[in-house]
């Protein structure tokens, strides 16, 4: 286990009291993680010392800001083991990274009747961009089914592959079930079938060691705010030859090499995809987040979350009326979605909030998955490096209180 006493000192927000007077028990890191002091301070120092626009000035501040912005990109590249920082495109978040691929690669490579394979456990951000493309271009979508125990049905996937898909886009880790999908195998099978792969790594990069070269992913998308970094920034990793071949995304400043009155030439990678003034301070914060996670060690974080999740599953199992969704702990990360018989998840979350316990209630942007399981909503507790077993106990005590109230 990680030394949470020490780690929690890095997260001042975890000391605050909530409306009812209790200290916050933050079990909603899957929605967004809390931020350590080093990240908050890196952004603060940037604004106090180095703020300027990037790539367009020779003065001291502009050079410093550009260097900080680009060195953060290098840190992020190393963090996911990208061969080059040129393959890391800054976006607003994972959602925008996926949309970037849908708007540029897919719109210039796919035609009516082409097949895209998704899964039944996708977040809306890896569904709706493809719905939009399908409606516009007559692209077909099909889905790898989810089994009763929350795993992808790989046999069904193999049969789907026989239909000559052009793209396989899937989540590395489910934000509802916690399932860690066998990304390496899914990508290898896609490649063998001649399809390009896109990994929604919004939940995996924050919680597991992710190596884009070992995975051999073509595209991989993630968000800073779920991995101790700020909101407003994320990244798309792509293979160089793909990124080179793609048309630009948004047009504007910074993404061009040359502009004439009636034409432009796009910039080189990765700037070709970064139009306009980006989230500069946030990029600096993103870099600091990666430094922070690297210092603690992703394997240590994964092991810590695993132990807490195991404990949580054990304790939740004791509570009559609780039903947990998803695979056993050895196949999942620190996400636990459950229902409590006779009580709507909103009520569960609201009553837990009285004691400062923050969980998420709803469909967690994965409505089709909930439909599959025949439930409108679940309660979700999720864990990160700062969570403790005592917090799991608080959650379970809270659930008993809910049961008492609803008797």
């Amino acid at each position: 286990m990680l030394n949470t006493n020490e780690i929690r000192r890095d997260f001042p927000i975890l000391e605050r009291a909530t409306a009812g007077g209790a200290r916050v028990t933050y079990l909603d890191s899957t929605a967004t993680s809390q931020k350590p002091l080093t990240v908050i301070e890196a952004m603060d120092v940037f604004y106090r010392r180095s703020n300027a626009n990037i790539h367009r000035g020779v003065h001291t501040l502009a050079e410093e800001a550009t260097a900080l912005y680009e060195s953060a990109r290098e840190k992020i590249a190393r963090f996911v083991n990208a061969p080059s920082a040129r393959q890391i495109v800054y976006t607003r978040n994972a959602t925008e990274a996926i949309n970037l691929v849908a708007y540029t690669w897919a719109r210039s490579n796919l035609k009516a009747g082409d097949l895209i394979i998704l899964t039944e456990m996708e977040h809306h951000s890896n569904l709706v961009p493809w719905h939009m493309l399908a409606a516009e271009r007559g692209i077909e979508l099909d889905f790898i089914p989810v089994t009763e125990d929350g795993l992808l049905d790989l046999d069904a996937y193999r049969s789907l592959l026989a239909r000559d898909p052009k793209l396989v886009a899937f989540t590395h880790m489910s934000n509802v079930l916690g399932t860690i999908n066998p990304a390496m195998e899914i990508i290898r099978l896609a490649r063998d079938a001649g399809a390009v792969s896109l990994v929604d790594a919004a939940q995996s990069v924050p919680h597991l060691t992710v190596d884009v070269q070992a995975l051999d992913a073509d595209f991989l998308a993630f968000s800073a705010h779920k991995m101790c970094g700020p909101t407003g920034i994320g990244a798309l990793y792509g293979k160089t030859e793909l990124l080179e071949s793609m048309p630009p995304f948004l047009g504007g400043g910074d993404m061009i090499k040359e502009v004439k009155l009636r034409s432009f030439r796009p910039n080189t990678l990765p700037h070709k995809f970064e139009a306009g003034t980006p989230a500069i301070a946030e990029a600096v914060g993103f870099g600091a987040a990666v430094d922070y996670l690297t210092k603690i060690g992703m394997d240590n974080i994964a092991a810590h979350e695993h132990e807490i999740t195991e404990y949580a599953l054990e304790r939740l199992d004791e509570v009559p009326g609780v039903k947990v969704f998803g695979p056993p702990s050895d196949k999942k990360g620190g996400v636990t979605s459950f229902t409590l018989e006779g009580v709507h998840p909103h009520d569960v979350a609201q009553i837990l909030d009285r004691d400062g316990i923050a969980i998420r209630a709803g469909h967690h942007c994965a409505q089709p998955l909930h439909e599959k399981f025949g439930i409108p909503a679940t309660s979700r507790a999720s864990f990160y490096l700062y969570n403790t077993k005592e917090e799991v106990d608080l959650l379970v005590n809270g659930l008993y209180k809910v049961k008492e109230l609803f008797g």
Partner: protein
């Protein structure tokens, strides 16, 4: 323990008097709260004098949404439809006897939204109906 989960709310949630579906009916409307997946359907029979003869709600959702639906239906039976058209947010809050934040307010107002969209014969239920 606290206001939001007053006994009457829990009671109406657990043992609603007006849960069901009327057949035949003169008015029927259903809608969801996309945020949390709450779902409410209302069926209503009108009397020849323009009042509500009978009504039922069906659906699923949190205690607030279901209890407010039950309280609302109870309160409109016998009322003129013209009066039902004028009901608003404050009416529901009075029925519930609690104050609500913006998120839970949506849960509480879903049944009124559905009811008014039905009574007005609209194609879609909009938030403006209950403001």
């Amino acid at each position: 323990m606290d206001d939001l989960y007053r006994e009457v709310i829990i009671e109406h949630y657990k043992n609603p008097a007006y849960r069901g579906h009327l057949d035949p009916h003169d008015i029927q409307f259903a809608d969801n709260n996309p945020l949390c997946g709450d779902h409410i359907e209302i069926t209503l029979q009108t009397a020849s004098d323009g009042t509500v003869k009978d009504a039922r709600f069906d659906g699923h959702g949190c205690a607030i949404s279901q209890a407010s639906a039950d309280l609302l239906i109870e309160s409109i039976i016998g009322k003129p439809l013209e009066e039902v058209k004028k009901l608003n947010k404050d009416y529901i809050l009075e029925l519930l006897g609690i104050d609500l934040g913006p998120v839970r307010l949506k849960c509480a107002l879903l049944s009124l939204k559905v009811l008014k969209a039905g009574v007005y014969g609209l194609g879609e239920a909009s938030d403006e109906l209950v403001e």
